[in-house]
């Protein structure tokens, strides 16, 4: 019974293949509903996938990940001042060396490399979020 099913499937497949191979001028003579059935083979439906499109990092997600990272950083003196807009030095009491460490940790978290010049310009959570959002390969 199984073999019969396979044979039947093979036969219908070969028939449809033959039908698909027919030259276009023959189709004109066919009835409209038949024509519409075979004029769109399944292979043409495949959707376009853009692998280069952005990973879709949301602003909230980036902020959350950076805040988590700072929460686990033992040198943050006042956890209550930790917010999406806190300044590393003024609010969190970090010195310049700690700031370097935070920026390096952010680099690792998002698997990117921040050049020294840009890294020196990041002094607050919001600046870090803005920088990450501007990086297409951050994830």
């Amino acid at each position: 019974m199984f073999r019969a099913a396979i044979l039947r499937a093979a036969r219908t497949a070969s028939q449809s293949a033959v039908r698909a191979q027919r030259p276009a001028f023959q189709r004109i003579t066919q009835t409209p509903f038949l024509q519409s059935r075979i004029s769109t083979p399944a292979t043409s439906i495949s959707a376009i996938r853009c692998y280069a499109s952005s990973s879709g990092l949301g602003q909230d997600e980036v902020t959350g990940r950076i805040m988590d990272l700072l929460k686990n950083f033992d040198k943050v003196q006042d956890q209550s001042k930790l917010s999406a807009s806190s300044h590393f030095t003024n609010d969190l009491g970090l010195d310049s060396l700690d700031t370097v460490e935070v920026v390096m940790a952010i680099e690792e978290e998002f698997s990117i490399e921040i050049p020294d010049k840009e890294a020196d310009a990041i002094h607050s959570v919001s600046q870090a979020v803005d920088y990450i959002m501007a990086q297409p390969d951050a994830h």
Binding site: F88, S96, L97, T99, V100, E101, M104, D116, D120
Partner: protein, 79 residues
């Protein structure tokens, strides 16, 4: 943060280089390297920022030390 002088930025650059070098170390001992880096920089935290001669000397010393410790043969560090 106040604008940093060129010398202060050199210190931060060295610190960043050290931390980057820590990443190349084995996972088990990486924390030791990071602790060592922090301690070495912490030793001279109280230095006056106008003490250019000392800072420049320490920068050179630190760079030389980094070059030794970042070699792949160095797998662990005490401190």
């Amino acid at each position: 943060m106040a604008r940093l002088s060129g010398l202060q930025r050199d210190v931060l650059t060295l610190y960043r280089r050290c931390l980057r070098a820590c990443r190349t170390k084995p996972t088990e001992t990486r924390a030791n390297f990071e602790r060592f880096t922090r301690k070495e920089f912490g030793k001279n935290m109280a230095l006056d920022k106008k003490d250019f001669g000392t800072i420049e000397f320490l920068l050179r010393k630190g760079t030389r030390q980094l070059e030794i410790y970042e070699q792949a043969g160095v797998r662990n560090i005490a401190g």
